[in-house]
Amino acid sequence: MQILYFAWVRERIGVPKDVLATEANTVSELVEELKGRAERYQIAFSDMSSIRVAVDQELAELNTPLAGAQEVAFFPPMTGG
């Protein structure tokens, strides 16, 4: 699975993406798994109310299931327009 990071989430984690095999069933479980990797992930994901997520390029929620998902992206609230 590809995990992408954008904006300050990318800056805090230090890389634009990770590729990993995961058994996480939901976005939430994936976040917990990532937080176990290194302190910078813990810092980036310390306040999930300021994190948005997309699963396979569609906006998703923390409890969105990951079955079959190829790409998960984490980023701050969007500021387009």
């Binding site: 954008f6 904006a7 390029q57 980023f75 609230p77 969007m78 500021t79 387009g80 327009g81």
Partner: protein
């Protein structure tokens, strides 16, 4: 429906003109354009827009489709830039063409509210030599509630 995500600057006048020219039978055209403006402290040197390439085009097309389904519209255009921008440059535009003005106005406002909170773009400002991410505004998230 015309949706473009691009790094190059675009000319608002030219786009508005072309958008009107290709319409067949509309009475009302509304356009919105977002422009890089200075900070209250007048220290903005540049803006950088990061985007999620694989998602941005599809997200804008989805928002445009929602507007087309919801109002009686002849056409919709959305252009959104990414990369480096300077003061007074156009960041993006939306345009709606409709038989009647109420539809054109409502759809353009809807597109903007959705774009602000649902399109994967993030603005960063260079102010006095320091880059800072632009915070999302609570009112922008709340603006969606009315649709």
């Amino acid at each position: 429906m015309h949706v473009r995500v691009q790094e190059e600057p675009f000319d608002l006048g030219t786009e508005v003109d072309q958008f009107i020219r290709i319409q067949d039978n509309v009475g009302a055209v509304v356009t919105f354009s977002g422009v890089v403006r200075d900070t209250p402290a007048q220290d903005l040197d540049a803006m950088e827009i990061e985007h999620y390439p694989a998602m941005a085009q599809a997200a804008l097309e989805d928002i445009a489709t929602q507007a087309l389904n919801r109002w009686s519209l002849a056409d919709v255009i959305i252009i959104h830039r990414f990369g480096r921008l300077t003061l007074r440059e156009a960041i993006m535009m939306v345009g709606t063409a409709a038989p009647h003005r109420q539809d054109a106005f409502a759809a353009a406002a809807f597109l903007m509210d959705y774009l602000k909170s649902r399109a994967p773009f993030w603005k960063k400002e260079l102010r006095g030599g320091r880059w800072e991410w632009v915070s999302s505004r609570t009112e922008d998230a709340e603006a969606l509630a009315r649709w």
